[in-house]
Symmetry: C2
Subunit: 270 residues, 2 copies
Amino acid sequence: MASWGERLEGVRGVLLDISGVLYDGSEDGGVPIPGSVEAVARLKRSQLKVRFCTNDSQKSRGDLVGLLRRHGFDISEGEVTAPAPAASLILKERGLRPHLLIHDGVRSEFDQIDTSNPNCVVIADAGESFSYQNMNKAFRVLMELESPVLISLGKGRYYKETSGLMLDVGAYMKALEYACGIEAEVVGKPSPEYFQSALKEMGVEAHEAIMIGDDIVGDVGGAQRCGMRALQVRTGKFRPSDERHPDVKADGYVDNLAEAVDLLLQHTDK
Amino acid sequence: MASWGERLEGVRGVLLDISGVLYDGSEDGGVPIPGSVEAVARLKRSQLKVRFCTNDSQKSRGDLVGLLRRHGFDISEGEVTAPAPAASLILKERGLRPHLLIHDGVRSEFDQIDTSNPNCVVIADAGESFSYQNMNKAFRVLMELESPVLISLGKGRYYKETSGLMLDVGAYMKALEYACGIEAEVVGKPSPEYFQSALKEMGVEAHEAIMIGDDIVGDVGGAQRCGMRALQVRTGKFRPSDERHPDVKADGYVDNLAEAVDLLLQHTDK
Protein backbone atom coordinates (compact mmCIF):
# COMPACT_ATOMS: atom_id res chain seq x y z
CA MET A 1 0.00 0.00 0.00
CA ALA A 2 1.19 3.52 -0.75
CA SER A 3 2.59 5.68 2.06
CA TRP A 4 0.21 7.83 4.08
CA GLY A 5 1.79 10.87 2.45
CA GLU A 6 0.78 9.65 -1.01
CA ARG A 7 -2.64 8.42 0.12
CA LEU A 8 -3.56 11.72 1.75
CA GLU A 9 -1.96 14.00 -0.85
CA GLY A 10 -4.12 16.94 -1.89
CA VAL A 11 -6.83 16.42 0.75
CA ARG A 12 -8.48 19.76 1.52
CA GLY A 13 -11.75 18.68 3.13
CA VAL A 14 -12.82 16.04 5.65
CA LEU A 15 -16.29 14.51 5.98
CA LEU A 16 -16.97 12.97 9.39
CA ASP A 17 -19.62 10.37 10.17
CA ILE A 18 -21.11 11.00 13.62
CA SER A 19 -22.44 7.84 15.27
CA GLY A 20 -19.62 5.35 15.87
CA VAL A 21 -16.95 7.97 15.03
CA LEU A 22 -17.69 10.90 17.37
CA TYR A 23 -19.79 9.01 19.92
CA ASP A 24 -21.62 5.74 20.61
CA GLY A 25 -25.37 6.32 20.81
CA SER A 26 -27.87 4.99 23.31
CA GLU A 27 -31.31 5.92 24.54
CA ASP A 28 -29.91 8.11 27.32
CA GLY A 29 -27.54 10.11 25.11
CA GLY A 30 -24.55 7.85 24.62
CA VAL A 31 -20.86 8.44 25.32
CA PRO A 32 -18.10 10.18 23.31
CA ILE A 33 -15.46 7.89 21.79
CA PRO A 34 -12.15 8.53 23.63
CA GLY A 35 -10.06 11.17 21.86
CA SER A 36 -12.79 12.27 19.45
CA VAL A 37 -13.70 15.56 21.16
CA GLU A 38 -10.06 16.69 20.97
CA ALA A 39 -9.63 15.31 17.44
CA VAL A 40 -12.54 17.40 16.13
CA ALA A 41 -11.15 20.49 17.89
CA ARG A 42 -7.70 19.99 16.32
CA LEU A 43 -9.19 19.38 12.89
CA LYS A 44 -11.17 22.61 13.11
CA ARG A 45 -8.07 24.59 14.10
CA SER A 46 -6.28 23.27 10.98
CA GLN A 47 -6.57 24.55 7.40
CA LEU A 48 -8.70 21.54 6.45
CA LYS A 49 -12.38 22.09 5.82
CA VAL A 50 -14.66 19.95 7.98
CA ARG A 51 -18.24 18.79 7.61
CA PHE A 52 -20.32 16.23 9.51
CA CYS A 53 -22.32 13.75 7.42
CA THR A 54 -24.78 11.52 9.30
CA ASN A 55 -27.60 9.09 8.52
CA ASP A 56 -29.32 9.66 11.87
CA SER A 57 -33.02 10.07 11.09
CA GLN A 58 -34.48 9.73 14.60
CA LYS A 59 -33.42 13.16 15.85
CA SER A 60 -33.77 16.65 14.41
CA ARG A 61 -30.47 18.26 13.44
CA GLY A 62 -30.88 20.71 16.34
CA ASP A 63 -31.35 17.94 18.90
CA LEU A 64 -28.38 15.99 17.54
CA VAL A 65 -26.09 19.00 17.67
CA GLY A 66 -27.30 19.89 21.17
CA LEU A 67 -26.48 16.38 22.34
CA LEU A 68 -23.00 16.48 20.79
CA ARG A 69 -22.26 19.91 22.24
CA ARG A 70 -23.17 18.59 25.70
CA HIS A 71 -20.56 15.87 25.09
CA GLY A 72 -18.03 18.67 24.44
CA PHE A 73 -17.90 18.64 20.63
CA ASP A 74 -17.30 21.88 18.73
CA ILE A 75 -20.14 21.53 16.23
CA SER A 76 -22.97 23.72 14.94
CA GLU A 77 -26.14 22.96 12.97
CA GLY A 78 -24.82 24.60 9.81
CA GLU A 79 -21.94 22.13 9.66
CA VAL A 80 -24.15 19.02 9.60
CA THR A 81 -25.57 17.19 6.58
CA ALA A 82 -28.48 15.05 7.83
CA PRO A 83 -31.11 13.12 5.84
CA ALA A 84 -34.25 14.75 7.28
CA PRO A 85 -33.44 18.37 6.26
CA ALA A 86 -32.14 17.03 2.93
CA ALA A 87 -35.42 15.20 2.33
CA SER A 88 -37.40 18.23 3.41
CA LEU A 89 -35.63 20.28 0.73
CA ILE A 90 -36.33 17.63 -1.93
CA LEU A 91 -40.03 17.54 -0.99
CA LYS A 92 -40.27 21.33 -1.38
CA GLU A 93 -38.39 21.35 -4.69
CA ARG A 94 -40.56 18.63 -6.20
CA GLY A 95 -43.87 19.77 -4.72
CA LEU A 96 -44.30 16.46 -2.90
CA ARG A 97 -46.75 16.14 0.00
CA PRO A 98 -45.53 13.25 2.15
CA HIS A 99 -47.26 10.76 4.35
CA LEU A 100 -44.64 10.59 7.13
CA LEU A 101 -43.67 7.30 8.74
CA ILE A 102 -41.04 8.75 11.09
CA HIS A 103 -39.96 9.06 14.72
CA ASP A 104 -41.52 11.90 16.70
CA GLY A 105 -38.00 13.17 17.47
CA VAL A 106 -37.48 14.23 13.84
CA ARG A 107 -40.98 15.52 13.08
CA SER A 108 -39.98 19.18 13.54
CA GLU A 109 -37.78 18.93 10.42
CA PHE A 110 -41.00 18.63 8.39
CA ASP A 111 -42.92 21.44 10.10
CA GLN A 112 -42.93 23.56 6.95
CA ILE A 113 -44.07 20.73 4.66
CA ASP A 114 -47.66 20.31 3.46
CA THR A 115 -48.75 16.77 4.40
CA SER A 116 -52.37 17.04 3.26
CA ASN A 117 -53.62 14.69 0.53
CA PRO A 118 -50.25 12.88 0.32
CA ASN A 119 -48.63 12.02 -3.01
CA CYS A 120 -45.61 10.20 -1.60
CA VAL A 121 -44.37 8.38 1.51
CA VAL A 122 -41.31 9.34 3.54
CA ILE A 123 -39.91 6.62 5.78
CA ALA A 124 -37.21 7.14 8.43
CA ASP A 125 -35.87 5.22 11.40
CA ALA A 126 -39.24 5.26 13.18
CA GLY A 127 -38.34 2.80 15.94
CA GLU A 128 -41.42 1.78 17.94
CA SER A 129 -43.59 3.69 15.46
CA PHE A 130 -42.98 0.86 12.96
CA SER A 131 -46.26 -0.76 14.06
CA TYR A 132 -48.28 -2.98 11.70
CA GLN A 133 -50.96 -0.31 11.60
CA ASN A 134 -48.50 2.46 10.63
CA MET A 135 -46.78 0.27 8.05
CA ASN A 136 -50.15 -0.69 6.57
CA LYS A 137 -51.18 2.98 6.40
CA ALA A 138 -48.00 3.87 4.49
CA PHE A 139 -48.53 0.84 2.23
CA ARG A 140 -52.09 1.86 1.40
CA VAL A 141 -51.02 5.43 0.57
CA LEU A 142 -48.45 4.04 -1.88
CA MET A 143 -50.91 1.59 -3.46
CA GLU A 144 -53.41 4.37 -4.11
CA LEU A 145 -50.86 6.41 -6.09
CA GLU A 146 -50.57 5.94 -9.84
CA SER A 147 -46.76 6.28 -9.67
CA PRO A 148 -45.86 5.51 -6.06
CA VAL A 149 -42.93 7.53 -4.66
CA LEU A 150 -41.20 6.15 -1.56
CA ILE A 151 -38.39 8.23 -0.05
CA SER A 152 -36.25 6.45 2.54
CA LEU A 153 -33.94 8.37 4.90
CA GLY A 154 -30.98 6.03 4.60
CA LYS A 155 -31.15 2.29 4.03
CA GLY A 156 -29.23 0.91 6.99
CA ARG A 157 -29.87 -2.70 7.99
CA TYR A 158 -29.41 -2.25 11.71
CA TYR A 159 -27.45 -0.31 14.31
CA LYS A 160 -26.17 -1.02 17.77
CA GLU A 161 -27.46 0.49 20.98
CA THR A 162 -26.30 -0.34 24.48
CA SER A 163 -29.40 -2.59 24.76
CA GLY A 164 -28.44 -4.58 21.63
CA LEU A 165 -28.99 -4.56 17.87
CA MET A 166 -31.86 -2.49 16.47
CA LEU A 167 -33.57 -2.92 13.09
CA ASP A 168 -32.94 0.17 10.98
CA VAL A 169 -35.05 1.89 8.32
CA GLY A 170 -33.60 -0.19 5.45
CA ALA A 171 -35.46 -3.29 6.59
CA TYR A 172 -38.80 -1.50 6.53
CA MET A 173 -37.93 0.17 3.23
CA LYS A 174 -37.42 -3.32 1.75
CA ALA A 175 -40.79 -4.46 3.14
CA LEU A 176 -42.63 -1.62 1.39
CA GLU A 177 -40.58 -2.01 -1.80
CA TYR A 178 -41.54 -5.69 -2.03
CA ALA A 179 -45.20 -5.21 -1.12
CA CYS A 180 -45.67 -2.43 -3.69
CA GLY A 181 -43.26 -3.74 -6.35
CA ILE A 182 -41.35 -0.44 -6.39
CA GLU A 183 -37.87 0.91 -5.62
CA ALA A 184 -37.33 3.56 -2.96
CA GLU A 185 -35.31 6.75 -3.43
CA VAL A 186 -32.67 6.87 -0.70
CA VAL A 187 -31.80 10.21 0.89
CA GLY A 188 -28.69 9.61 2.96
CA LYS A 189 -25.45 7.67 2.68
CA PRO A 190 -24.56 5.85 0.40
CA SER A 191 -26.57 7.91 -2.10
CA PRO A 192 -24.17 9.88 -4.36
CA GLU A 193 -26.47 12.95 -4.35
CA TYR A 194 -26.23 13.02 -0.57
CA PHE A 195 -22.42 12.96 -0.51
CA GLN A 196 -22.32 15.54 -3.27
CA SER A 197 -24.57 17.92 -1.35
CA ALA A 198 -22.20 17.64 1.63
CA LEU A 199 -19.19 18.36 -0.62
CA LYS A 200 -20.96 21.35 -2.12
CA GLU A 201 -21.72 22.77 1.34
CA MET A 202 -18.04 22.30 2.22
CA GLY A 203 -16.86 23.89 -1.06
CA VAL A 204 -14.50 21.03 -1.90
CA GLU A 205 -14.26 18.75 -4.95
CA ALA A 206 -14.66 14.98 -4.47
CA HIS A 207 -11.01 14.24 -5.34
CA GLU A 208 -9.91 16.71 -2.63
CA ALA A 209 -12.12 15.17 0.08
CA ILE A 210 -11.85 12.24 2.45
CA MET A 211 -14.66 10.52 4.38
CA ILE A 212 -14.03 9.06 7.84
CA GLY A 213 -16.62 6.53 8.97
CA ASP A 214 -17.27 3.23 10.78
CA ASP A 215 -19.47 1.69 8.06
CA ILE A 216 -17.43 -0.08 5.39
CA VAL A 217 -20.31 -0.08 2.87
CA GLY A 218 -22.33 3.06 3.62
CA ASP A 219 -19.45 5.39 4.50
CA VAL A 220 -16.33 4.00 2.80
CA GLY A 221 -17.83 2.34 -0.30
CA GLY A 222 -20.34 5.14 -0.82
CA ALA A 223 -17.74 7.91 -0.60
CA GLN A 224 -15.32 6.08 -2.91
CA ARG A 225 -18.03 5.63 -5.55
CA CYS A 226 -18.32 9.44 -5.53
CA GLY A 227 -14.61 9.85 -6.25
CA MET A 228 -13.63 10.61 -2.67
CA ARG A 229 -11.08 8.83 -0.52
CA ALA A 230 -12.26 7.13 2.68
CA LEU A 231 -10.82 5.85 5.96
CA GLN A 232 -12.53 3.33 8.21
CA VAL A 233 -12.19 3.73 11.98
CA ARG A 234 -12.06 0.65 14.21
CA THR A 235 -14.81 2.04 16.47
CA GLY A 236 -18.63 1.98 16.37
CA LYS A 237 -19.99 -0.88 14.28
CA PHE A 238 -16.56 -1.73 12.79
CA ARG A 239 -15.89 -5.48 12.72
CA PRO A 240 -12.47 -7.06 12.01
CA SER A 241 -13.95 -8.82 8.96
CA ASP A 242 -14.53 -5.36 7.40
CA GLU A 243 -10.80 -5.21 6.59
CA ARG A 244 -11.32 -8.27 4.35
CA HIS A 245 -14.57 -7.02 2.78
CA PRO A 246 -15.07 -8.69 -0.63
CA ASP A 247 -16.08 -5.50 -2.47
CA VAL A 248 -14.84 -2.46 -0.55
CA LYS A 249 -11.29 -1.57 0.41
CA ALA A 250 -10.75 1.59 2.44
CA ASP A 251 -7.83 3.93 1.61
CA GLY A 252 -6.74 3.24 5.15
CA TYR A 253 -7.85 1.71 8.46
CA VAL A 254 -7.23 3.61 11.68
CA ASP A 255 -7.94 2.78 15.31
CA ASN A 256 -10.13 5.82 15.87
CA LEU A 257 -10.79 9.39 14.82
CA ALA A 258 -7.82 10.64 16.87
CA GLU A 259 -5.42 8.52 14.80
CA ALA A 260 -7.08 9.64 11.56
CA VAL A 261 -6.64 13.29 12.53
CA ASP A 262 -3.00 12.72 13.55
CA LEU A 263 -2.29 11.32 10.09
CA LEU A 264 -4.21 14.06 8.28
CA LEU A 265 -2.46 16.87 10.13
CA GLN A 266 0.91 15.22 9.59
CA HIS A 267 0.55 14.53 5.87
CA THR A 268 -1.67 17.23 4.36
CA ASP A 269 -1.39 20.96 3.87
CA LYS A 270 2.37 20.97 3.46
CA MET B 1 -55.51 -22.00 -27.71
CA ALA B 2 -56.32 -25.72 -27.62
CA SER B 3 -59.88 -26.87 -26.90
CA TRP B 4 -60.94 -27.39 -23.31
CA GLY B 5 -61.07 -31.14 -24.03
CA GLU B 6 -57.39 -31.15 -24.95
CA ARG B 7 -56.38 -28.80 -22.14
CA LEU B 8 -58.10 -30.88 -19.47
CA GLU B 9 -57.24 -34.31 -20.87
CA GLY B 10 -56.05 -36.79 -18.28
CA VAL B 11 -56.81 -34.65 -15.24
CA ARG B 12 -57.48 -36.90 -12.25
CA GLY B 13 -56.99 -34.53 -9.34
CA VAL B 14 -57.93 -30.94 -8.52
CA LEU B 15 -56.14 -28.62 -6.07
CA LEU B 16 -58.31 -25.75 -4.85
CA ASP B 17 -57.05 -22.52 -3.37
CA ILE B 18 -59.37 -21.35 -0.58
CA SER B 19 -59.32 -17.56 -0.08
CA GLY B 20 -60.60 -15.80 -3.20
CA VAL B 21 -61.84 -19.08 -4.74
CA LEU B 22 -64.14 -20.57 -2.10
CA TYR B 23 -64.80 -17.40 -0.10
CA ASP B 24 -63.71 -13.79 0.40
CA GLY B 25 -62.18 -13.33 3.85
CA SER B 26 -62.76 -10.56 6.36
CA GLU B 27 -62.33 -10.06 10.08
CA ASP B 28 -65.85 -11.26 10.80
CA GLY B 29 -65.65 -14.48 8.78
CA GLY B 30 -66.15 -13.37 5.20
CA VAL B 31 -68.67 -14.50 2.57
CA PRO B 32 -68.75 -17.49 0.18
CA ILE B 33 -68.21 -16.70 -3.50
CA PRO B 34 -71.52 -17.34 -5.35
CA GLY B 35 -71.70 -20.89 -6.74
CA SER B 36 -68.61 -22.14 -4.90
CA VAL B 37 -70.40 -24.17 -2.20
CA GLU B 38 -72.30 -26.13 -4.89
CA ALA B 39 -69.21 -26.40 -7.10
CA VAL B 40 -67.20 -28.08 -4.32
CA ALA B 41 -70.10 -30.45 -3.62
CA ARG B 42 -70.34 -31.45 -7.31
CA LEU B 43 -66.58 -31.93 -7.55
CA LYS B 44 -66.59 -34.21 -4.53
CA ARG B 45 -69.39 -36.33 -5.99
CA SER B 46 -67.32 -36.82 -9.19
CA GLN B 47 -64.49 -39.29 -9.77
CA LEU B 48 -61.93 -36.49 -9.52
CA LYS B 49 -59.76 -36.35 -6.45
CA VAL B 50 -59.95 -33.05 -4.57
CA ARG B 51 -57.60 -31.29 -2.16
CA PHE B 52 -57.56 -27.79 -0.70
CA CYS B 53 -54.25 -25.94 -0.79
CA THR B 54 -54.09 -22.63 1.10
CA ASN B 55 -51.47 -20.11 2.22
CA ASP B 56 -53.61 -18.88 5.15
CA SER B 57 -51.26 -18.67 8.13
CA GLN B 58 -53.40 -16.62 10.53
CA LYS B 59 -55.79 -19.43 11.47
CA SER B 60 -55.26 -23.02 12.59
CA ARG B 61 -56.44 -25.61 10.08
CA GLY B 62 -59.26 -26.54 12.47
CA ASP B 63 -60.51 -22.96 12.73
CA LEU B 64 -60.33 -22.47 8.95
CA VAL B 65 -62.29 -25.65 8.26
CA GLY B 66 -64.85 -24.76 10.94
CA LEU B 67 -65.38 -21.38 9.29
CA LEU B 68 -65.80 -22.91 5.83
CA ARG B 69 -68.22 -25.53 7.11
CA ARG B 70 -70.36 -22.80 8.65
CA HIS B 71 -70.45 -21.26 5.16
CA GLY B 72 -71.81 -24.60 3.91
CA PHE B 73 -68.65 -26.10 2.34
CA ASP B 74 -68.13 -29.88 2.41
CA ILE B 75 -64.58 -29.88 3.73
CA SER B 76 -62.66 -31.66 6.49
CA GLU B 77 -59.29 -31.00 8.13
CA GLY B 78 -57.66 -34.03 6.47
CA GLU B 79 -58.35 -32.57 3.02
CA VAL B 80 -56.46 -29.31 3.64
CA THR B 81 -52.78 -28.54 2.99
CA ALA B 82 -51.91 -25.46 5.07
CA PRO B 83 -48.50 -23.90 5.77
CA ALA B 84 -48.58 -24.02 9.59
CA PRO B 85 -48.99 -27.81 9.95
CA ALA B 86 -46.50 -28.29 7.08
CA ALA B 87 -43.97 -26.08 8.89
CA SER B 88 -44.64 -27.87 12.17
CA LEU B 89 -43.74 -31.17 10.47
CA ILE B 90 -40.52 -29.71 9.03
CA LEU B 91 -39.49 -28.35 12.45
CA LYS B 92 -39.95 -31.81 14.00
CA GLU B 93 -38.08 -33.59 11.20
CA ARG B 94 -35.10 -31.23 11.40
CA GLY B 95 -35.03 -30.87 15.18
CA LEU B 96 -35.56 -27.11 14.90
CA ARG B 97 -36.73 -25.10 17.92
CA PRO B 98 -38.44 -21.99 16.57
CA HIS B 99 -38.85 -18.50 17.86
CA LEU B 100 -42.42 -17.90 16.62
CA LEU B 101 -43.45 -14.56 15.10
CA ILE B 102 -47.05 -15.56 14.35
CA HIS B 103 -50.70 -14.68 14.92
CA ASP B 104 -52.28 -16.05 18.09
CA GLY B 105 -54.94 -17.71 15.92
CA VAL B 106 -52.40 -20.21 14.54
CA ARG B 107 -50.37 -20.80 17.71
CA SER B 108 -52.14 -24.11 18.48
CA GLU B 109 -50.51 -25.66 15.37
CA PHE B 110 -47.16 -25.40 17.19
CA ASP B 111 -48.35 -26.77 20.56
CA GLN B 112 -46.21 -29.88 20.22
CA ILE B 113 -43.06 -27.99 19.23
CA ASP B 114 -40.19 -27.21 21.62
CA THR B 115 -39.62 -23.47 21.50
CA SER B 116 -36.95 -23.26 24.21
CA ASN B 117 -33.49 -21.95 23.32
CA PRO B 118 -34.52 -21.25 19.71
CA ASN B 119 -32.29 -22.17 16.76
CA CYS B 120 -34.52 -20.73 14.02
CA VAL B 121 -37.30 -18.19 13.43
CA VAL B 122 -40.72 -18.98 11.98
CA ILE B 123 -42.63 -16.03 10.57
CA ALA B 124 -46.28 -16.11 9.50
CA ASP B 125 -48.97 -13.55 8.73
CA ALA B 126 -48.85 -12.09 12.25
CA GLY B 127 -51.03 -9.02 11.56
CA GLU B 128 -50.96 -6.60 14.49
CA SER B 129 -48.28 -8.74 16.14
CA PHE B 130 -45.79 -7.35 13.58
CA SER B 131 -44.73 -4.70 16.12
CA TYR B 132 -41.24 -3.17 16.07
CA GLN B 133 -40.51 -4.94 19.33
CA ASN B 134 -41.54 -8.36 17.99
CA MET B 135 -39.66 -7.84 14.71
CA ASN B 136 -36.56 -6.78 16.62
CA LYS B 137 -36.81 -9.85 18.87
CA ALA B 138 -36.95 -12.16 15.83
CA PHE B 139 -34.07 -10.23 14.24
CA ARG B 140 -31.88 -10.60 17.32
CA VAL B 141 -32.56 -14.35 17.52
CA LEU B 142 -31.41 -14.68 13.89
CA MET B 143 -28.31 -12.53 14.41
CA GLU B 144 -27.21 -14.66 17.35
CA LEU B 145 -27.28 -17.87 15.28
CA GLU B 146 -24.15 -18.99 13.47
CA SER B 147 -26.21 -20.15 10.46
CA PRO B 148 -29.51 -18.26 10.74
CA VAL B 149 -32.60 -20.21 9.57
CA LEU B 150 -35.71 -18.18 8.73
CA ILE B 151 -38.85 -20.11 7.75
CA SER B 152 -41.64 -18.04 6.23
CA LEU B 153 -45.21 -19.35 5.92
CA GLY B 154 -45.82 -18.12 2.40
CA LYS B 155 -44.36 -14.98 0.86
CA GLY B 156 -47.47 -13.05 -0.19
CA ARG B 157 -47.12 -9.30 -0.70
CA TYR B 158 -50.57 -8.35 0.47
CA TYR B 159 -54.15 -9.51 0.56
CA LYS B 160 -57.52 -7.83 0.50
CA GLU B 161 -59.94 -7.58 3.38
CA THR B 162 -63.24 -5.75 3.40
CA SER B 163 -61.45 -2.89 5.21
CA GLY B 164 -58.80 -2.60 2.47
CA LEU B 165 -55.40 -3.97 1.52
CA MET B 166 -53.34 -5.67 4.24
CA LEU B 167 -49.57 -6.21 4.23
CA ASP B 168 -48.84 -9.94 4.13
CA VAL B 169 -46.00 -12.00 5.58
CA GLY B 170 -43.78 -11.64 2.48
CA ALA B 171 -43.10 -7.97 3.25
CA TYR B 172 -41.85 -8.78 6.75
CA MET B 173 -39.90 -11.77 5.44
CA LYS B 174 -38.06 -9.38 3.09
CA ALA B 175 -37.32 -7.01 6.00
CA LEU B 176 -35.64 -9.78 8.00
CA GLU B 177 -33.85 -11.18 4.93
CA TYR B 178 -32.32 -7.77 4.22
CA ALA B 179 -31.42 -6.96 7.82
CA CYS B 180 -29.70 -10.33 8.34
CA GLY B 181 -28.31 -10.79 4.82
CA ILE B 182 -30.01 -14.20 4.48
CA GLU B 183 -32.65 -15.92 2.37
CA ALA B 184 -35.79 -17.36 3.95
CA GLU B 185 -37.14 -20.87 3.32
CA VAL B 186 -40.75 -20.54 2.17
CA VAL B 187 -43.31 -23.09 3.35
CA GLY B 188 -46.43 -22.49 1.27
CA LYS B 189 -47.25 -21.66 -2.32
CA PRO B 190 -45.36 -21.16 -4.64
CA SER B 191 -42.78 -23.50 -3.06
CA PRO B 192 -42.51 -26.72 -5.14
CA GLU B 193 -42.14 -28.88 -2.00
CA TYR B 194 -45.45 -27.51 -0.76
CA PHE B 195 -47.35 -28.34 -3.96
CA GLN B 196 -45.69 -31.75 -4.06
CA SER B 197 -46.79 -32.56 -0.52
CA ALA B 198 -50.38 -31.71 -1.51
CA LEU B 199 -50.12 -33.94 -4.60
CA LYS B 200 -48.74 -36.78 -2.49
CA GLU B 201 -51.62 -36.49 0.00
CA MET B 202 -54.02 -36.62 -2.95
CA GLY B 203 -52.22 -39.59 -4.54
CA VAL B 204 -51.98 -37.96 -7.98
CA GLU B 205 -48.99 -37.18 -10.20
CA ALA B 206 -48.27 -33.58 -11.16
CA HIS B 207 -49.14 -34.12 -14.83
CA GLU B 208 -52.55 -35.50 -13.81
CA ALA B 209 -53.37 -32.54 -11.54
CA ILE B 210 -54.79 -29.07 -12.02
CA MET B 211 -54.62 -26.11 -9.64
CA ILE B 212 -57.47 -23.60 -9.43
CA GLY B 213 -56.55 -20.29 -7.83
CA ASP B 214 -56.96 -16.51 -7.91
CA ASP B 215 -53.23 -15.68 -7.69
CA ILE B 216 -51.54 -15.65 -11.10
CA VAL B 217 -48.04 -15.96 -9.62
CA GLY B 218 -48.45 -17.95 -6.40
CA ASP B 219 -51.14 -20.36 -7.58
CA VAL B 220 -50.90 -20.55 -11.39
CA GLY B 221 -47.18 -19.96 -11.93
CA GLY B 222 -46.19 -22.03 -8.91
CA ALA B 223 -48.31 -25.04 -9.92
CA GLN B 224 -47.11 -24.89 -13.54
CA ARG B 225 -43.47 -24.90 -12.43
CA CYS B 226 -44.27 -28.20 -10.67
CA GLY B 227 -45.57 -29.74 -13.90
CA MET B 228 -49.24 -29.22 -13.09
CA ARG B 229 -51.83 -27.40 -15.11
CA ALA B 230 -53.54 -24.36 -13.62
CA LEU B 231 -56.69 -22.25 -14.11
CA GLN B 232 -57.14 -18.73 -12.82
CA VAL B 233 -60.56 -17.67 -11.54
CA ARG B 234 -61.76 -14.09 -12.02
CA THR B 235 -62.65 -13.78 -8.33
CA GLY B 236 -60.68 -12.84 -5.17
CA LYS B 237 -57.59 -10.81 -5.94
CA PHE B 238 -57.80 -11.46 -9.71
CA ARG B 239 -57.15 -8.34 -11.77
CA PRO B 240 -57.82 -8.04 -15.54
CA SER B 241 -54.12 -7.33 -16.13
CA ASP B 242 -53.37 -10.87 -14.85
CA GLU B 243 -54.54 -12.22 -18.23
CA ARG B 244 -51.68 -10.27 -19.86
CA HIS B 245 -49.07 -11.21 -17.21
CA PRO B 246 -45.55 -10.95 -18.71
CA ASP B 247 -44.29 -14.27 -17.29
CA VAL B 248 -47.25 -16.48 -16.42
CA LYS B 249 -50.00 -17.77 -18.71
CA ALA B 250 -52.74 -19.89 -17.15
CA ASP B 251 -54.01 -22.98 -18.99
CA GLY B 252 -57.37 -21.23 -18.86
CA TYR B 253 -59.22 -18.31 -17.30
CA VAL B 254 -62.70 -18.87 -15.86
CA ASP B 255 -65.20 -16.54 -14.23
CA ASN B 256 -65.33 -18.49 -10.99
CA LEU B 257 -65.00 -21.92 -9.43
CA ALA B 258 -68.47 -22.92 -10.66
CA GLU B 259 -67.39 -22.43 -14.30
CA ALA B 260 -64.14 -24.31 -13.67
CA VAL B 261 -66.05 -27.29 -12.24
CA ASP B 262 -68.53 -27.24 -15.15
CA LEU B 263 -65.64 -27.53 -17.59
CA LEU B 264 -63.84 -30.21 -15.57
CA LEU B 265 -66.91 -32.41 -15.24
CA GLN B 266 -67.70 -31.95 -18.93
CA HIS B 267 -64.24 -32.72 -20.28
CA THR B 268 -62.55 -35.19 -17.91
CA ASP B 269 -63.20 -38.75 -16.88
CA LYS B 270 -64.74 -39.84 -20.18
